[in-house]
Amino acid sequence: VSGSPGCASCGLPPMEKDAEERLMIEIAKQQLLEKLHLKERPNITNTVPRVALLTALRKLHSGRVRQDGTIELENNIPTKDQGYEIVSFADINETDNSDKASLSLTFQFLQERGQSIQVLQSSLWIYARSSGDPHRDSRLLARVFLSADGGVSGSNRTLLIEKMLEVQESNWHTFTITRTLQAFLDGGQHRLRLEVSCEEDGQNLCSLDNSAETPNQPFLVAQVRLRDSHSKHLVRKR
């Protein structure tokens, strides 16, 4: 085969190297956005503290965190229809800590029109501190409530889960909220408000310590997949 100049497949004249590189990068960008069902790249300004992010990823065994803080993903073999694992952090601005008895968390969701999401599994991850008193009962009753959007913390709420936690040591605890999240998404609402009460002698062992950079920020995990085949956009969670 004679070595024809330029593109060996289509015979187009050779492009100037930089122009070719720029074209390839644009093609790669479009392909990635299309495969992720995104219209444009998300515009992220102030993100979740990296320390909280890395904690969540470690919990999900989503990958190993190298010394320099970069993340090395395990390559799972994708399910036949592309599934998603979403980690959503409570909007701390909305999380009022005023009520000492319970921790109020607000998760925001913006669902794209014309698509419906199937929640395969969803859990709320809460970090509970130890009571600190070795002589006390090391178990603690935790309750998770669903509260009406816009309702005042503590009023107009529905008990979702009650669970005894072992708080001999500070640790993470999970609460399954699959059905709650599915009902919430099916209802097309935007803000999911949960309250977590881990009260002991008037103090809430599940409250956030006030530092914004805490690695123990509560988060919600959901394995989801698109139900409709034609809808091209993933639920955008905020």
Partner: protein, 114 residues
């Protein structure tokens, strides 16, 4: 399969790696650090059709039989990916949430002639 080089015009795989930092996409893509957007290019003359990395399909089998029996066909053979792997990604899809997903068939591992 062959890696494309300066003097290779037959079907080969061209490596093309984009570092997300170089295109300022590392602000919203947490992992990986980049993307191997490899692609196939090059000619598939008659004697190469159906190899290497045969695009295993009934079409290739029939095509080979025609070739073995010297039956010249007007069909052309194309340089296509014969092996691909998924791309696992973790990215911010908004201020307070991240998504982890495995996008199938995103990275071309090898090329071959149909």
């Amino acid at each position: 399969s062959l890696r494309c080089g300066e003097d290779v015009t037959v079907c080969c795989k061209r490596d093309f790696y984009i570092k997300f930092k170089d295109i300022q996409w590392d602000e919203w893509i947490i992992a990986p650090e980049g993307y191997h957007m490899n692609y196939c290019m090059g000619q598939c003359p008659q004697h190469l059709s159906g190899s290497p990395g045969i695009a295993s399909s009934f079409h290739a089998t029939v095509f080979s039989q025609l070739k073995v029996n010297g039956i010249n066909t007007a069909t052309t053979s194309c340089c296509v990916p014969t092996e691909r792997r998924p791309l696992s990604m973790v990215y911010f899809n908004s201020q307070h949430s991240i998504v982890k997903t495995d996008v199938p068939d995103m990275i071309v591992e090898s090329c071959g002639c149909t």
